[in-house]
Amino acid sequence: MRKLSLPAQLISQALFALAGLFVLLPVWGMARLAFDGSLRGRPTEFRWLPKEFSLEAFLKVLDRPYQSVDFEILLRNSMTVSISAALLAIVLGVSLAYAFARFRFPGRNAGLFLLLLTAILPPVAFMAPLYILLSILKIRTTLMALVIVYAAFGMPFCIWNMRSAFQAIPKEVEEAAFLDGASDLRTFFAVTLPLALPSIAVAGLVAFLTGYSEFALGWLFVEKADTVTLAMAIYAIVQNQYQGGAQPWSYLGSLALIIAAPVVAVFIVLQRALLDRMTFGSAGD
């Protein structure tokens, strides 16, 4: 390959800038709202920059974004729900993933087919049946219900990805341990699991993020304000807008930025690993 000439370099940079503009435009639009202290309801005039620069909305949102619920409670709910859901999906799924990665047994192909199918189903597919089932169990409106719902969303994906993580570990490593007299279980915990742990962690992270950023469906299950998660608070503000409520749009903007910022950071740091998991372990390398 030739080295870039100056005009080619300039053209490339111009194209990158154009794409960057496309990427940033909507984010900028949201940030403009978030930092504008003059907004009383929805925006009424076109501006590139906030009219009155202010951090008021951020402070308000970090204090009490939704009704009478504190930010900390929302954050705690979010963390409890998404971490438990991710752990549940991983812990319950890990043995199944290992079995599919290492052993041959009747019905294996059918099982893999089902796994992949359930992994690509949209979360809405599980919504109604889980709603009905959790109602029958009378735990629909608890945080526990949200954990179960998000774990159900994430589990097939986690199993599929843990399976590919286990498969990536050479069989010979395990066989060596086995020959040394270790049992299946011991081999797994001492050899296989540590080697696969990074990939498993990334799969868990994806499951965590599903729970962290999901809210439209979560609202079906929640009735009391103290079981709302952070992401669901956004939806509450949106709904409030649609019903003619007068909360300033700067709240929506600032909450959206607060929720999105840590995720963006995680993605930038872990980009390659996340890509591999999200293509179901088939994106090369």
């Binding site: 030739r2 794409a19 925006p43 009424t44 319950l92 049946p129 890509l275």
Partner: protein
């Protein structure tokens, strides 16, 4: 015995029997439709035209044919035939002249209406018969095609031109193999002329012939030959057109231009065309739709059309191998209908024949051939299947705990969903349902103890859950394919176009970033990942903040600076179906391209530099290098990512939820699982939502099969 079964005589007899049965079936369905279909738009117009011609025919002075052509925008040939069909009927008052916007006229005189319709049914059956002679299975598909039955069996202008255009194509095809091509070409030109004299639209099929003809001549390198033979072909057809169009004889130029230019004005100006607000791909929507089959006085028992269309799409490749002209016919006709602003349902009849032929190919490729192969191979397979290694004894302790969780959390809810889709569970019966009524209904229904029943007077109002059986699937499919809602076709078009755009932008940027010595590479890469990281609903809200019709950024800018700002043409997008599609595609592109960018970057890294060096030594320029080297090596690596993106796009939910909030006309299946309230006037949301959900899952099963097949090709995911 086997020898006897495969004897040519028996094959021939079986073939003729099949053709005969298909013709009988087609005739039966069309006659039935002609007799019982309710009166539709336009039938009064053409029946009035027929009345005028009938009077001329009765008078015996045929020169009167030159004076009449009611609704001059359409040529008179079929109207004259309708006049001949009703000439023997008692004379009645002339049907009043009404605007094109008027509602269907239910008081049309009988038996005139029925006689004219029966003529259409006869011609429509002739088409079925000819198609059945080409391929009995295709004839069968055409004979049951709801769309075709409806529009050839009404007093419309579809039956005769579909016959003449088919004969034109067949004569042309014959000319390619015949020792005397000129004679067959002349026949085909005659039929082109007759087609033009029946309805202009069908001449589009002539363009497909020209394309095929051109390709044929390019292969042999005789392009000049093409021009010299096309010219007389066209002239002959024009002559026939005039000969078959007596209305033009007295004043050809003016009357012809008046007739032809009407359509341009109608397409751009008529109120009903504007009001319909169809997207450019409306003909595809119609292809997957059985025209309101439940309203048609019980003429149609079942909406076959969506199923036929699915087989047709899968059969196109096979049909191209057999006879590319039919596929060209389909492509040219679709392209024309995409571009032409008027998009009435009956225009789709120009596609009927290639659709039926392709359906037959798809059915063979998808159902018959695999079954045949399985039947032939079943013995070999049993012998070949080596005793598989079986670790079940070691595997089961690992399987059990995870399997229990997977069954409880994932499989059971889905299976339960299938159960709910067979009940009338709704808001009214929610109490009973949650207290065990659902179990009672599902288990009772599936074990056959409770008969399927639905109260006809107040469906979905019962306070107890009832087993109703799979009766909602076909209406739900009808709802999803309704032209006003257009969920299924939109969903597929949305998926394909958004993935294409995402892949193009992602791959383009990946190639640019890969150039040697590019500055700021890390910075740009990090920036481009941002949309991928932003949770989908938040991204959707960000775009909503720009495009909201009243107070979005764009709308506010347009209010302040007028509509001539950059991107000002987007203002008012919510009123235009095509713009709405575009407005959804922009956030779709924004979400999706980073993923494709990263997948492409990862793929590009795996292509060794030596390959490029070799290409450079061979003197390939950049474009050639990409086309011949990079792309073929990259595609298999990219396919899994493309499919994953496709599935994401197919399932896209939050974007539509954010943009619509309450009601939707263009949206994905997922959105309709969540918001199924619009479906049934009586409620019954749970039942309907679960039906749509089950349909969605069935479609996604297709995707999994594709995913597995394609990524195996790319050495990615395999079951092994």
């Amino acid at each position: 015995m086997n020898q006897f079964l495969s004897s040519p005589f028996l094959r021939r007899a079986g073939y003729l029997l099949a053709v005969l049965l298909v013709i009988l079936l087609g005739w039966n369905l069309r006659l039935n439709a002609a007799t019982y279909l309710p009166v539709d738009y336009d039938e009064d117009d053409y029946l009035r035209a027929a009345q005028e011609y009938a009077a001329v025919i009765r008078s015996g002075d045929m020169s009167g044919l030159m004076d009449y052509n009611y609704r001059t925008e359409h040529p008179p040939l079929l109207k004259i035939l309708y006049g001949w069909a009703i000439a023997g009927d008692p004379e009645v008052r002339l049907i009043p002249d009404r605007p094109t916007t008027a509602q269907p006229d239910a008081t049309l005189p009988r038996p005139h209406l029925i006689h004219a319709r029966t003529l259409g049914a006869v011609i429509g059956t002739l088409v079925v018969g000819i198609v059945a002679l080409i391929n009995p299975l295709a004839g069968f598909a055409l004979s049951i095609h709801t769309f075709n039955i409806k529009y050839v069996s009404q007093v419309m202008l579809e039956s005769l031109p579909s016959l003449t255009s088919l004969l034109m194509v067949l004569a042309y095809l014959r000319s390619k193999k015949s020792p005397r091509p000129a004679a067959w070409l002349a026949i085909s030109a005659v039929f082109l002329g007759l087609t033009a004299a029946s309805k202009y639209l069908y001449c589009v099929i002539g363009i497909a012939i020209l394309v095929d003809w051109f390709l044929e001549n390019r292969k042999t390198g005789k392009l000049l030959n093409w021009l010299t033979s096309v010219l007389p072909w066209g002239l002959l057809s024009i002559a026939i057109f005039f000969a078959a169009n007596p209305y033009l004889w007295p004043d050809p130029i003016n009357r012809l231009s008046e007739s032809v230019f009407y359509h341009a004005g109608y397409a751009s100006g008529a109120e009903e065309v504007q009001r319909a607000g169809y997207p450019f791909y409306q003909s595809l929507v119609h292809m997957f739709f059985s025209p309101y089959w439940w309203w048609q006085n019980g003429v149609f028992a079942f909406p076959y059309d969506p199923f036929l269309a699915i087989f047709a799409i899968l059969g196109l490749k096979g049909l191209w191998k057999k006879e590319r002209l039919y596929v060209l016919w389909m492509i040219v006709a679709l392209a024309f209908l995409f571009v032409w602003p008027t998009k009435w349902a009956q225009y789709n009849i120009i596609l009927s024949v290639p659709l039926a032929l392709s359906t037959a190919e798809g059915f063979m490729a998808l159902i018959v051939n695999p079954l045949k192969a399985w039947w032939v191979n079943r013995k070999d397979k049993a012998v070949l299947a080596a005793p598989q290694k079986n670790d079940l004894r070691r595997a089961w302790p690992w399987l059990v705990p995870g399997l229990i969780a997977f069954i409880i959390l994932t499989l059971f809810p889905l299976t339960f969903q299938f159960g709910v889709s067979l009940t009338d569970f709704s808001a009214a019966s929610i109490r009973d349902g949650l207290q065990g009524g659902l179990w009672r209904a599902i288990s009772g229904g599936l074990s056959g103890q409770a008969p399927a029943s639905i109260p006809t007077e107040f469906p979905y109002r019962a306070s107890e859950v009832n087993y109703i059986g799979p009766i909602n699937f076909i209406p739900a499919l009808g709802y999803l394919t309704l032209p006003e809602r257009d969920v299924l076709v939109f969903n597929v078009i949305w998926m394909v176009s958004s993935v294409l755009m995402q892949s193009a932008l992602g791959l383009g940027l990946a190639l640019l970033l890969r150039q040697r010595g590019v500055r700021l590479r890390k910075f740009w890469q990090a920036l481009f990942i941002v949309p991928w990281a932003i949770p989908e609903m938040i991204g959707a809200l960000m775009w909503w903040n720009i495009f909201q019709p009243n107070w979005g950024w764009l709308a506010l800018a347009a209010q302040q600076f007028g509509e001539n700002i950059p991107f000002g043409f987007f203002v008012g997008w919510e009123r235009s179906t095509d713009l709405r599609m575009l407005i959804f595609l922009i956030p779709g592109l924004w979400y999706g391209f980073p993923f494709m960018l990263m997948a492409a970057s990862a793929g590009l890294k795996m292509i060794p530099d030596e390959v490029y060096d070799a290409a450079a030594i061979d003197g390939a320029n950049q474009w050639q290098t990409f086309l011949r080297v990079t792309w073929p090596l990259l595609l298999p690596l990219l396919l899994p990512a493309i499919i994953v993106r496709g599935i994401f796009a197919f399932n896209q939910f939050y974007l539509f939820q954010a943009f619509y909030a309450l009601e939707a006309t263009l949206s994905t299946l997922s959105y309709n699982v969540f918001n199924s309230g619009g479906f049934h006037p009586y409620g019954g949301q749970f039942a309907i939502s679960s039906v749509i959900n089950v349909l969605n899952i069935l479609i996604l099963i297709g995707f999994v099969i594709l995913f597995n097949r394609w990524s195996k090709a790319g050495q990615g995911v395999t079951y092994a």
